[in-house]
């Protein structure tokens, strides 16, 4: 059994497949760059419920049901549900699991819950204990803000390093059979604490953990950053991503254009979110929409997904403790062969013009 594990990384022999994926986001996220790729965009934050907590629960139920539906399965065909969220005592996950008559594994790993749940689910499927496992997470801006920071309507200014918790939920169904992208390996990370005690600077607190996990992935699987089509981190935000790139360079790995961060990509510059998005739904929704769809069509073949989390509570930070970070990584591969679409010169020029226009707009805004 230990042959499959190299230090922190487990390489799966039986290739657990991703057969279903579903993402649901709030209205603000729906207006972001990935807006059209999500499966469902909510019209308002309440989602037809009376409280935000109930709305988050409904989002998660919706995501799980949507993913099983996309996998062409009945909810009763799912053998196990692995779920996590941000709220105290992970109430969203547990209450959402009431609706399903299946084994439930509630996890807490802050914003890195998506990668951890997929890692656990894939391990179970690979070992042959379960056939279909649903892995899901969710986060809601209004519930998280209320729990961790200030009331919603309080007229205060956000510090420049703060991030915006995404209202989003994502679900992945992993199966031992079927077609689609498969999970190649999972790396369970270590808790890293570099002594950042500013609660509003989570990117800097999580970047060392992301670095540690990323290095173990490269070390254990004997790869370099250039071997991946896409390296995607969870919710480091703009500052955290810059710090991670610096830290990796110090360790001798240069991250190039194939690296990006979900938190940074979730919103447009002018949506007033400062350093970008955060929360477990942030990377979960992008992973379950853009990344898996591209893997399915074969446009991406080899993706390293590292979800990062800040393991803090309001009690610990009020007592002056620093913020520990965690990061879990999964490598998803696809062996779909696609006919590459040839782009005509005219279309190329059109795209180039569009990019140039956006760049100049971005620059003028920055000035």
């Amino acid at each position: 059994m230990l042959k499959e594990r190299k230090e922190q990384t487990i390489v799966f022999k039986n290739k657990p497949r991703i057969i279903g994926n579903y993402s649901i986001v709030g209205p603000k996220e729906g207006k972001g760059p990935f807006g059209k790729m999500f499966d469902y965009v909510m019209k308002d934050d309440f989602f037809g419920e009376k409280t935000y907590e109930k709305a988050e629960r409904k989002m998660l139920e919706h995501a799980i049901f949507g993913a099983t539906d996309k996998a062409k399965l009945n909810p009763k065909d799912i053998d196990m549900l692995v779920c996590g969220d941000l709220l105290n005592q992970i109430i969203t996950s547990s209450y959402a699991a009431r609706a399903y008559d299946i084994s439930y594994l509630g996890i807490f790993s802050a914003c890195s819950a998506m990668a951890l749940s997929i890692g656990i689910g894939a391990s179970m499927v690979n070992a042959g204990y379960f056939q279909n496992v649903a892995c899901a997470t969710s986060s809601h801006f209004s519930t998280a803000e209320r729990q961790f920071r200030f009331p919603l309507e309080l007229g205060n200014q956000r510090p420049p390093t703060s991030q915006w918790t995404c209202t989003a939920s994502g679900c992945t169904v992993i199966s031992s059979e079927g077609r689609g992208p498969y999970i190649d390996s999972v790396t369970f990370g270590k808790v890293m604490d570099f002594g950042i005690s500013d609660v509003n600077n989570m990117g800097a607190a999580m970047a060392p953990a992301a670095m540690e996990t990323m290095i173990s992935v490269f070390h254990d699987t004997k790869t370099t950053p250039d071997d991946y089509d896409l390296i995607i981190t969870g919710d480091l935000g703009k500052l955290g991503a810059e710090i991670l790139m610096d830290l990796m360079e110090q360790q001798g790995y240069k991250l190039r254009e194939n690296y990006c961060d979900c938190g940074q990509m979730m919103f447009y510059y002018d949506q007033n979110v400062l350093m970008g998005g955060s929360g477990c739904g942030c990377s979960a929704s992008i992973f379950n929409s853009y990344v898996i769809e591209r893997l399915k069509t074969g446009q991406l073949k080899n993706v390293l997904y590292i979800a990062t989390g800040a393991l803090l509570s309001t009690t610990s930070c009020q007592q002056g403790e620093s913020v520990p970070g965690i990061a879990h990584a999964i490598v998803v591969k696809s062996n779909v062969v696609t006919k590459s679409k040839t782009i005509t010169k005219k279309e190329k020029n059109k795209i180039a013009n569009k990019v140039e226009k956006q760049l100049s707009k971005f620059k003028s805004e920055e000035n």
Binding site: P151, L152, L239
Partner: protein, 148 residues
Amino acid sequence: MDYTKRNIKYNEYVNSKIPKTRSWPSLFYAFIVGGLICMIGQGIGDGIRAIWPDLAGNAVSNYVSIILIFIASFLTGIGVYDRIGAFAGAGSIVPITGFSNSITSPAMDFKNEGIIFGLCVKMFSIAGPVIVIGVLSSAIVGLIYLFL
């Protein structure tokens, strides 16, 4: 590895990367909005004096405070005040309207947890320290005044 040294080095590095708040524009917006709120207060006071010229000066300023508190609560309720606050910063926190906002906003948020344990308990979660410090400091100033 020496963890404390590493942490200090990392913290210094992070601090050098953090984008700085530009203080002059923030000060300007705070001054404009804060001044505007005070002007509105003065306007209300003058209006009251024009309508009821017999009112004592003390009573007029009390009415002005009550009206400003109501306006701020109302704006919080319809979701406008947090936008003003995000723009103005201290300009909308320091006047009495900011205090009103800091009581109304948790009350709105926690009304789902029940009247007693939700709304009434959480109502002062932001404004509580202000009241405690206010009462304490007024007592201390009163004592000093007594002995002078």
